[in-house]
């Protein structure tokens, strides 16, 4: 099994690769983890991971700078139904639009838009940065063996914008920060996490391991 982590010049991808290698090792998987900016590798991969840090529009521009990449990801995910994991801005790009600085179109796989976090308590700091617990909104194989709720495991977040899904059934997990933050989405063969599994120690490695094991229902 080949896992393509897409490299489009956005931030730190080394820790993402290392965490996938570690998670694969822990579950006894011989998955091959490739960091790639090649369209052909995306087409050949069995599963696709889209990380992302920075601004929504910059990430979209970074992907579009690689000829054919945007279309290749879209085809692999929406046509070929390959399992997909979007991380942070990689999750946000699954939405229809982003409204960070300017309005930009996303892949549109998940109904909804990406907007600034507006906590009820104005003294709360933005970015929402640090460790927070998750509340699971539905059952899903990627959450297997991950304790959620107030006494559950923690996920590491760092973001000022979040995806507000239009369909409630797409929400996989939420967290609380002066209101609800949509921490993860799941739809068909797609998963998106606003938090960084590659930085979330136990929770993160388990989630990545679950993603590696996961076969979506067709």
């Amino acid at each position: 099994m080949k896992i393509a982590i897409i490299d489009y010049g956005s931030g730190n991808l080394r820790s993402a690769v290392k965490s996938f290698e570690r998670a694969a090792h822990e579950i006894g998987s011989d998955a091959e983890i490739v960091l790639t900016s090649q369209v052909t590798e995306v087409a050949q991969a069995d599963k696709i991971v889209l990380p992302g840090v920075g601004a929504f529009a910059d990430c979209r521009a970074g992907l579009q700078k690689i000829e054919g990449m945007w279309a290749a990801i879209d085809e692999a995910v929406s046509r070929d139904k390959k399992p997909f994991l979007g991380i942070c801005v990689g999750m946000q790009l699954m939405a229809e639009h982003g409204h960070e600085h300017e309005t930009t179109a996303g892949f549109g796989w998940i109904k909804g838009d990406v907007r600034a976090i507006e906590p009820d308590d104005k003294s709360l700091k933005i970015p929402h940065m640090g460790w927070n617990t998750l509340n699971a909104c539905k059952q899903h194989p990627v959450l297997e063996n991950i304790t959620t709720g107030d006494d559950g495991l923690h996920a590491y977040f760092v973001h000022s914008y979040h995806l507000i899904p239009g369909n409630r059934e797409d929400v996989l997990a939420e967290t609380q920060y002066g209101g609800t933050i949509f921490a993860a989405v799941a739809k068909d063969n797609m998963i998106g996490t606003q938090f960084h599994p590659e930085k979330s120690q136990e929770l993160g490695l388990r989630l990545i391991g679950n993603f590696l094991k996961w076969t979506p229902d067709s």
Partner: protein
């Protein structure tokens, strides 16, 4: 609920931890990667490396330390020291750093903060604010920004500087009281609170931690989002778990 963070900080020189870390049986107490791994296992919420290597030619050693750390630690790592150009930031991020702290470069050229945060995202740009009280005890308090490890005054007001770099796109401030650094008498809470209240971004309190109550004060009285400490952890006076449990008992939400 979002938890307050405890961040152990390792001063690194020529690829070695200054003074060493002695809270567990490390084969090599001076190896930053071994120390990082031990803190990861001990439940630290993040880790900070401050490189105090004087020579730029030895930059490769730091990059190697960051790279090896990223192979074994799955928590956020901030790296500071000698960051002057966007190439320095890119190099550290590619090696595996999650955030990069800048100090002198932000003071000399605040536009660098804007450029860096636009290029890499605010989430990975930490501005290290080194402040020293310059007012007399009977005057209204005033703090000034110092560079070069607290040796060089700049004439800049610390609160105004903090507001300015926040507006330019910094994602977090690492606030160190140069008066308190190394004293073990606790954070400069007045300074910490004024800066935390003045900016919308998270502030990490640093400088002066001598006991666990100081960590509590940094959050409850200083309004910081995170606390950074070095020696109380490195030499085994307190474990990360003891610190967290003490803070939790004081009513601070912690990741236990």
């Amino acid at each position: 609920m979002l938890k307050a963070r405890i961040i152990p900080c390792l001063d690194v020189k020529d690829g070695r931890v200054v003074k060493g870390v002695n809270f567990v049986d490390l084969k090599d107490a001076g190896d930053p990667v071994e120390s990082a791994r031990a803190y990861d296992a001990a439940g630290a919420d993040e880790l900070c490396f401050l490189d105090i290597t004087a020579s730029h030619e030895k930059r490769g050693i730091l990059i190697d330390v960051v790279r090896r750390t990223a192979e074994c630690c799955f928590m956020p790592v901030t790296v500071g020291g000698g960051v002057k150009r966007t190439e320095d930031i890119r190099e550290l991020l590619l090696a595996g750093a999650d955030k990069v702290a800048m100090n002198t470069a932000a003071v000399l050229n605040p536009e660098f903060v804007r450029k860096a945060s636009q290029k890499f995202g605010s989430q990975c740009i930490v501005v290290a604010v080194d402040a020293k009280r310059v007012s007399m005890p009977d005057e209204a308090p005033k703090w000034e920004i110092f560079t070069h490890g607290g040796r060089k005054p700049t004439g800049l007001d610390a609160i105004e500087f903090a507001e300015k770099v926040t507006a330019l796109g910094a994602g977090e401030l690492l606030l160190t009281s140069m008066d308190r650094d190394g004293t073990k008498i606790g954070f400069d809470l007045d300074l910490t609170r004024r800066i935390s209240d003045a900016v919308a971004i998270p502030v990490i309190a640093s400088g002066g931690v001598g006991n666990l109550d100081h960590l509590v004060d940094g959050i409850t009285k200083g309004h910081a989002s995170a606390v950074l400490a070095a020696s109380i952890f490195h030499f085994g006076e307190y474990t990360i778990a003891e610190a967290k449990s003490h803070m939790a008992k004081a009513g601070i939400p912690m990741r236990l």
